[in-house]
Amino acid sequence: MSEITEAPHGDLLVMLRHAPHGGLWLREALDLALVGAAFGQSVSLLLMGDGVWALLQGQGPGPLGQKGSQSTFEMLEMYDIERLYVDVDSLEARGLTRDDLLLPVIGVSTPELSTVLAGHRQIFNF
């Protein structure tokens, strides 16, 4: 059954497809989402591929103090990011369930992915 209760819509969709720590994609993508929210835009995030690792509980900073993404995700509510979508196939392919995640998410099935993309005026895919 679909978890999407209203038609996806918004100003800005930021797609997160990279895992934290191995690169800066996730951090710099989240920065863009936070700026969008701070500017009053209606912002959605879609985690897909290795991006779903970003929500795994139990992450920490790297040994040189690299920030990772957990702290940023914990701030999302404060920044008024309106929707946090997660590609269910990507979760399952990595052996993850909702219980492993830091935050409640809206699960998106494969047929719904294109609906999420179509519902946003701007898409940035990181």
Binding site: M48, G49, T110, S114, I123
Partner: protein, 96 residues
């Protein structure tokens, strides 16, 4: 209609699977840079069901020696044709 850009070969990355799952029936897929390795006949099966809306950039095929190896199911466009595709699509999404 969205135009999706893909610059990874299906032999080196699984991102093409995510692109395909996110595409609608009216969307187009443009292979550029290393994405054009997916246009050769032995690889094009990674892009099923895209007849008429799977494109590859001519200059990236030619620079890689693939001009004669591009599968007939792939529509070859030059840079001018690439721009024309972005005129028709309201938005583009780049996958890497």
């Amino acid at each position: 209609m969205l135009l999706h850009l893909l610059n990874r070969a299906p032999s080196s990355s699984s991102v093409h699977q995510d692109v395909l799952r996110a595409m609608r029936e009216e969307d187009g897929l443009m292979l550029i840079e290393d994405g054009v390795f997916g246009a050769v006949s032995a690889q094009v099966q990674h892009f099923p069901g895209l007849e008429g809306r799977l494109f590859a950039l001519r200059e990236d095929l030619e620079s890689r020696g693939l001009a004669g190896r591009c599968d007939a199911r792939v529509i070859i466009v030059d840079m001018d044709g690439f721009v024309a595709l972005t005129e028709d699509a309201q938005r583009t999404v780049s996958w890497f």
